[in-house]
Symmetry: D2
Subunit: 345 residues, 4 copies
């Protein structure tokens, strides 16, 4: 089989660099072009010395990419992918790691991102592709919106509980913690080492842009409007998201029964691992991998289901899931190129 | 004024070592005796080389302490302080940093700690001394139960909201994160550096022993039975607890009004700092200090009050608060010896 | 081609767990058996939850391994591999990640390890296999001593300079820093998180067991007796060794010329990357990979060559190099199964 | 006694912020004015929320400082303090934490800093004040150059050995490691959290500006010209410098005898602690304190003395030592305001 020709737009951002790392070991893909506005003309290994000898491509611009690639991964700030998608139309598949193709409702996008869709029609042809939920639609779609990191952890964590009807759709609380790569490569005081190390705080409480994306998916699963309270925190580690989700039980059910519902829901999903009872999901066990680890706990005295859902924000939360989507779109086994074993330490 | 003579029982545990650090700079106190079962006969500076030249006392046992001390700080595993308190009776004050004098209800203690009170009468004479709530009772009490670390962060974070009647006492969620010193000095696989570093997970979800202590205080504040859902997490930093608390609003009130309620509630409390609106409490700003920083946030679309409460688990969460209690008991200004400025980095 | 059947002895130590991680993605190898004294009978994924769904083998003992494996990796404390090697004789290859087959001179082994060789003859048939130096001997050898982590970083860092005759063999200083996994999985106070985090110190200055191993290799390269001063330090990161090596120049030579000597020396060595002039080797660029990154610097005012050599102590310093040795022994391309790209963050 | 009136120029840099932290607890000093070019007009507690309620001064400019202060601490980039010193002349004492008053030789300053002295006369009246070496000169001096962080660790580490004549002045190697606060508050890619965390590398090998300062002091101690090889490294912790120093023994002397020389040399120096034999200096034991911990080790097989010297780069390496200098200049006990006990964790 001929290799899929890959273009990576925004290859020097963290998501872009992670795509490079993972795709270099993908047996059916070949990186054809990498682009960067900030570093155009430079060797990518000068920006990321980990790539020395492994990938020494020159960073270019995006102009010719749609003509020479089978798929373009766009790792861009929100608002810039729509135009790129138009350029790709009829030429190649685009997988957008930004937010432009995540929200179905244009009004919601406008409210949270302060921009509107320039080509609403394009959005009707796109899919929000969280594979474990929507892979059927992805198979034939050329404009693929890759989910956000927090929403991935929450949707996978909540899906079986919501589907089962065991939990109330009211009053769901999502308390998430993300490693610092989630904030990107750009320099900020809040991610300056001495400000971040030995520190911990919430941010954008009740006001993070991933809120409507989470609600969109949970509502779709539940078949009715779901609102959540979402508070992210900055965690002094490089990688990983842990979301602790609180949902009120509305059925008389034991933890063992809930556990079985989860195991069954994910029995055919390679990338979702349900922890044994009494074990806790930990970001360290999914590091550098495309796994989502989920553990379930029950507070019987308040009748609250507690779900801990862990992913690597750069892999299942970004680049890995994007490759999983590419695999689906190009009819490859979903795990192709994504079988690295998470290091234990 | 003569200096208060101090005995520290369990001086080589983390809480004990922190008491030594803080009391060495207390202008009205003098460490008279330090004890340790594991290291009896050794120089404390051999165990804690940070104390070299500063405190080179020999670790002894507790036998003679009640006779030569004005106050004994007990930093012991739960279940061991009760007997020590009996030995102190009529001789000196005891401030217990363990759990033996925290729970008013014996049945609750038995349920969570698997032991019963040997001398129930002693407990009727003791006080659970979170100064900002109960300092009046502390002034004349000789058996002082020092609050737990998580409960301190939660009680101070919730007090003004609960008192104001603005929030529901149902469905309160407490999602807490603690630095690794909270797990103590004893070696465990879970606190081995390569297992803890770059890791994050919940533990004892809905089953942590601090749950009944938190509920006891919140119930007392609210004047009715309050149940909470409490999930602690292990945070890869040395010090600090951040508790994110979620409570449903039941009154029509703005964030600015809530903020004013908090500022007013704590206007005379030196150790509690309410963050300006739109700022977030961060464990780094309270490190090595007795401060509790609180920030308030409102999710208007779910009508949920979000409170972030930060303390240093070893100071306001243990040794510092114990010294604050000593100051109260010995009629000193509460801030005596506790004015170290938290380092910014 | 049939897959090589692998046995891993000591699979639950850090080196063993890293072997499992890497070998699971080796296209020509198959893990046949894993053993552990401490955890015999348990599922390895219960000890290392990162392996869940990926490798759920039961930990056994070593008894039958030589009969069912083509190669056994021994990740054992020093002194235990010799007997195992005897059991393997004539049955399978043994690659020892411990110290038993590193020192040619029995007297040196006795001096530093406090034991003597029980079967000296076995040692004459073994090879100390640092592939970049000794791969020819490895090709036909059945008892392969895998180099230590520090020695690997130093030998690769020094080889071209020593061979060129540019530096004095007197007065070489090696200042090394190792991540905490180098201390192993066993619990010690010195690797307890709050003791290790935000800490840094030297240990075993001038007295580390890797000293004779380093000297043995450097002497072999130089063709005369070389003594070094070696001081290791514990670095608060999980993985990585950086060795800064100081050697006095004895020829009139520029940095550019030295740089060329290094580039030439390693032009056919995939796993050794010489940094461009004015760049610094950094442990982060080799993390989770089998690379050794080397940078060269010249202090002209003291005529001192400064070499910074970085490896991942668990990969090129242990499991990765062991697999590289297996590849050599079984006539596979050396990079087989070792092409993972180091993550940038 | 009236309090010393303090002005801090550059109060929002890390050294400035540390001066604020320490001076707030100095019993004989009072911060009268704080200045900042970047944040003029703002409350310092808005920049450093750790100062909330503790110090809420408005950041001003330096114009009136010399008229209203007894001493000005200048925490400025190199080249800016000379002019300020001229403005202070005859009005107040200036203690410069930058490099402008460290090098006696103007040519050396020009070579390393690319500028020349505008007022060479001023420099003849200044003192390079490392108290343990030069305190007599500081007592009556109004222009005090505060030593650099690395040079402090090295000078204190080497002084007794050099004075004793036991070590060669040739071939001294200094391998130093510094926490990230040493790089300052300004944002750089190299101090962005995901680039710094889990990373380690050398920088400016043989080319750091502290080299001539170290050599100046060692030469002064030795009474002859001393050249060193100096390589700093960036350590992923907030605070602390560890310098491992290698010097060849030229006398027949035991480690015990060397240890005694060190203990004697520092017996009256409160801030220097010589570790017991066989213990290692560790940055964690001096954190947030003005201590310098020194341990001695001997590599007998190469006849090399190994000295490990640890300070907190922000305290003994900057703000603390500056206050120690102020105490000397104003005839206070040197330890005044500097008795905080380093936290063990």
């Amino acid at each position: 089989m001929e290799k899929i020709k890959i273009g990576i737009v925004g290859a020097t951002g963290y998501a872009g660099a992670e795509l490079v790392r993972l795709l270099l070991n993908h047996p059916n893909a070949e990186i054809t072009a990498v682009s960067s506005i900030s570093f155009e003309g430079q060797n990518i290994a000068d920006i990321y010395p980990n790539l020395k000898k492994v990938c020494e491509m020159t960073l270019g611009n995006t102009e010719l990419m749609p003509d020479c690639c089978d798929v373009i991964f766009a790792a861009l700030p929100s608002g810039l992918s729509e135009e790129l998608a138009l350029q790709c139309a009829g030429k190649c598949v685009i997988i957008d790691l930004g937010a432009d193709f995540r929200l179905h409702d244009q009004g919601t996008y406008e409210k949270w991102y302060g921009k509107n869709y320039k080509s609403p029609e394009l959005h009707t042809k796109s899919v929000y592709s969280l594979p474990e939920l929507y892979r059927e639609q992805t198979k034939n779609c050329d404009v693929i919106g890759n989910p956000g990191c927090y929403p991935t952890s929450v949707a996978l964590g909540m899906m079986p509980a919501l589907r089962s009807g065991c939990v109330s759709t009211d009053g769901i609380i999502v308390d998430s913690k993300s490693g610092v790569t989630g904030a990107g490569r750009s320099l900020t005081q809040g991610t300056h080492y001495p400000d971040t190390n030995e520190a911990f705080a919430a941010y954008k409480a009740g006001a993070h842009r991933h809120t409507p994306e989470i609600e969109q998916t949970l509502s779709d699963i539940a078949g009715k409007n779901v609102k959540i309270t979402f508070v992210p925190h900055l965690l002094p580690v490089n990688r990983g998201i842990e979301s602790t989700i609180y949902a009120r039980l509305i059925k008389d059910i034991t933890l063992a029964e809930l556990h079985e519902i989860y195991e069954k829901a994910y029995e055919n999903e390679y990338f979702v691992r349900v922890e044994p009872m009494n074990k806790y999901a930990n970001i360290k066990n999914v590091r550098c991998s495309n796994f989502c680890d989920i553990s379930l706990h029950l507070d019987t005295h308040t009748n609250t289901l507690i779900i801990s859902s862990c992913i690597d924000n750069m892999v299942k939360g970004a680049a890995g899931q994007a490759i999983q989507n590419m695999n689906i779109r190009f009819s490859l086994p979903e795990t192709t190129g994504l079988t690295d074993v998470p290091p234990a330490f």
